[in-house]
């Protein structure tokens, strides 16, 4: 006869992820991606992935590495689509680095924009309220 199983409780946490590392040249964003995949696979929740500092470069739709290289921009957008993740850029950090949404380009009279529409432009306030509403902030 099978032994009686102990009741167990799954502790589900709500994470907010901050990505400060750029899309190529540092491993921070890749580690953030793997961490996010991992917590989601364990049944935790990820409230936002907030891209700050050089992290905003991950949102550029113009990232096009050779086909045998890892495409972090595509990996983030794929993960966001699969899990309905909320990817947010800090708009000030993005504008300083030439990462613009269509609306930013229009407002600043630029000819082109490059931010992928999977990423929304938000303020630092979204990061701060996200931190307050989550169980744990993890920075990369």
């Amino acid at each position: 006869m099978a032994p009686l199983q102990e009741p167990f409780f799954i502790v589900m946490n709500k994470f907010i992820i901050q990505v400060n590392g750029t899309v190529y040249g540092s491993t921070a964003s890749f580690r953030a991606l793997r961490f996010t995949e991992s917590v989601l696979s364990l049944g935790h929740q990820v409230s936002h992935v907030f891209f700050y500092q050089d992290g905003v470069m991950n949102s550029s739709a113009l990232i096009c590495p050779a086909s045998d290289e890892h495409d972090l921009h595509r990996a983030w957008t794929k993960l966001a689509t699969e899990h309905n993740l909320h990817l947010v850029n800090c708009v000030s950090a993005a504008l300083r680095r030439g990462v613009l949404s269509a609306q930013d380009a229009n407002e600043n009279r630029k000819d082109a924009f490059n931010a992928s529409d999977k990423f929304t432009m938000g303020g630092l306030g979204e990061l701060v309220t996200g931190i307050e509403q989550s169980d744990r902030l993890i920075c990369f």
Binding site: Q53, I131, C139
Partner: protein
């Protein structure tokens, strides 16, 4: 409300890490979070007076550190070990901050809900 400890560990000149870290600290404070600030490693150089970041193409964000108290950020600690390495004395500090031992900084980190390093 969360206790957020913002640790600066990069030099004020040569990268923009602290500038954006300062924005984060002040915004968190204005969103009613309990913010504390720590300067360690090369970041103790933020405390040096009479710097001119404009000369190296940077905005003078160093002056903004003087506004930390206006944002009710009252706990501003400077790692005394790092300060010693850079020959920095408390009497020279450019804005209100307190020299702190490694133990005091450890305690602050333990009490925080979130720790962010810039």
């Amino acid at each position: 409300m969360k206790k957020v400890c913002v640790i600066f560990r990069h030099s004020p000149i040569g990268n923009t890490s602290s500038r954006e870290g300062l924005d984060f600290a002040m915004l968190s404070a204005s969103f009613e979070q309990e913010v504390s600030v720590v300067f360690t490693d090369e970041a103790v150089l933020h405390l040096l007076p009479e710097q001119q970041p404009e000369l190296v193409g940077s905005k003078d964000y160093l002056a903004t550190f003087k506004a930390l108290s206006l944002y009710d950020i009252d706990t501003v600690l400077v790692c005394q070990e790092s300060a010693k390495q850079f020959g920095l004395k408390e009497s020279e500090f450019n804005f209100e901050a307190e020299m702190a031992s490694v133990k005091q900084i450890q305690l602050l980190i333990q009490q925080a809900n979130e720790v962010v390093v810039y």
